[in-house]
Symmetry: C2
Subunit: 370 residues, 2 copies
């Protein structure tokens, strides 16, 4: 194989596919990036068996061929090359020479035949969504997937398509995040659970232009994201996702309208008194026209009052401050509305149209001690 | 004690003195920042017994007093406060209330009387140097102090003043860095070894203006840096510094003039083939008009040629690539001169006036295997 391409194109492609290289694996071949120039295009591929990424780069093929190169070494070499044309040449023993200006690297690759190609997925109807919107909706929900494998379904996000609406849901047993996106067309009903890791990596490599689109193909076992010159193929998580409808109620006893920035800054300040692993709640005392926030820990205490507009009853309720911070950080509205029923029932942060709903379970606390 | 000052002033002061708070100590009081408002100025102090920093901040004292507050908690609180006036108030039990707008923190401090004040140093003649120059000379030499305590003197830097010249030297047994600075006045001869940690912290807190000066006082056991509203007092390292003059020779067999950027980039690229702990040398093969650089490791090999101007003999010599990278990074010249004698004698990187000299010992290598 012999090919020539610009350092920039090569680096762009390597950075994209590297996201699918597993950090730990017993199969050495998976730690490689496959360079496939066996046809008339140059394709880079990486695959950790759950998630596969392929991207095409511009370049000139002087001799067709295919080689698998250690992803870490190869990407470090490419990163440090001068900004010029790069020549990659291999011999029959997989000895690979990478030349750029006067710099010449020799490394040993592996046979491309041993590489696990990403599965071929029959393309059906695709869902179109702007890169920006997809990137945003992942950011706005990904934080509430579970961080351990105890329940596999909680490590993914529900993607549900109903006509012209995409609903994305994540939950970890203490909170639920829901975002609804309007699509430009109507689609068949689809409901799948996409691994959180896949979404995190897709979100990292998506350029995120509002003008460019992503095509999403969904099959029984796989989801495919196609954009620019890149294809991401991921397995889906099997099983029936949680029925969340029964947890969503529009009844409330207390409604609070509050400045988002003020609330976020206040809770953020309060958390510095809480050491990791220490489960101190932030306590909200909602009265007419104001919320008093209070935290009490071994280190010290903090309290602060924020002016609000309140409808309904007074309430004294405690939360894990991190859950509030996570949700408030991804809401763009200047003012948010909190809906509460009682100190043991979930609090909802949502807008009037319910384009977003963040449900947070309260925590018990000893009112006397606080 | 009760005092009021802006969040910005307070944060600025806290960030400065925090550099002297030890990360690990058995004396809890040393983990504190002392706020001393017992006279008509507000002074913040921290002290790890080797290094003490004191800085004065603007503010209004409503009630004189003194308190020691846990540095980590206090600085986190200050950092997260709204950008407004901060009131700090203490009671006789050292209970401290920090109020800013509607936020109110309560933490418990310690008696200021238990705090180890920084030692009083008799001020003698001071040496004046611009903040920028001091910061630069530290950056240009600090990397070659020893990273372990086996030889205490190697963990510091020699500061030697001869008339109107300041000479700064650091060495770790494999290399020596020397910088000479012209001062505006003549001073008495002085020769002391300053702890590397002190210099690192001074360099971090120095604003580094070319127009502002630092006054340096040197006594038998201490060095004091005074600038803006800040005083840094540090113990000196005791003992006689190494005699380096005998290692500096102006004889050479080979002189190479080389583009600094090209050489640095090339060695930087080569090092990616060397894993940490792996001691692979970079081998320079100096012939007429060019240097060939070569590295060979378990991962692969690299070679590259750079055009140079050479005087004298050809030479084949090997180095620890890191030592070259460290030295080249802090040299501002576009072209550097390397002086070599033989493959076992040190290489010198220096300018014509010897305002800088970087001495690097070569390493043995098996020429046949490379």
């Amino acid at each position: 194989m012999k090919l020539i391409c610009s350092k920039q194109n090569l680096l762009y492609g390597v950075n994209i596919v590297s996201k699918a290289v597993p950090t730990r694996t017993t199969m050495a071949i998976l730690e490689c990036i496959l360079i496939d120039a066996s046809t008339n295009e140059i394709k880079l591929t990486a695959n950790d068996m759950e998630l596969g990424i392929e991207t095409k780069i511009e370049g000139q093929i002087e001799e067709r061929g295919i080689i698998a190169l250690d992803a870490k070494i190869f990407s470090e070499i490419v990163r440090k090359l001068p900004d010029s044309d790069v020549t990659i040449e291999t011999d029959s023993n997989f000895k690979t020479t990478i030349t750029c200006e006067k710099a010449k690297f020799n490394i040993v690759g592996k046979s491309g035949d041993d590489f696990s190609y990403i599965p071929f997925i029959e393309r059906n109807e695709s869902v179109h969504i702007s890169q920006f919107t997809l990137k945003e909706v992942i950011r706005q929900t990904i934080f509430s997937i579970a961080d351990n494998d105890n329940n596999k379904l909680m490590t993914g996000e529900l993607f549900e398509i109903n006509e012209n609406e995409l609903k994305v849901v994540s939950l970890d047993g203490h909170r639920i995040s829901i975002r609804k996106i309007q699509l430009k067309e109507n689609y068949e009903h689809k409901k799948v659970v996409v691994p959180g890791k896949t979404l995190q990596e897709v979100s990292k490599i998506l350029p995120g232009n509002a003008d460019s689109e992503v095509d999403i193909y969904i099959t029984e076992n796989h989801i495919v994201f196609e954009f620019d010159n890149t294809t991401v193929v991921s397995r889906l998580i099997e099983g029936e996702y949680f029925k969340i409808e029964q947890m969503l109620s529009s009844d409330y006893e207390t409604k609070v309208k509050i400045n988002k920035r003020e609330l976020l800054d206040c809770i953020d300040r309060a958390t510095l008194l809480v050491k990791e692993g220490d489960k101190k709640p932030i306590i909200m005392n909602v009265t007419d026209d104001s919320v008093q926030l209070k935290i009490n820990s071994f280190i010290g205490s903090m309290d602060e009052e924020i002016d609000v507009k309140k409808d309904g009853k007074d309430i004294l309720i405690g939360f894990n401050p991190k859950f509030f911070i996570d949700a408030l950080r991804v809401i763009d509205d200047e003012e948010v509305a909190l809906y509460m029923v009682n100190p043991k029932a979930p609090c909802f942060i949502k807008d009037d149209d319910e384009t977003y709903i963040y449900l947070i379970l309260p925590v018990n606390f000893n009112a006397a001690a606080n």
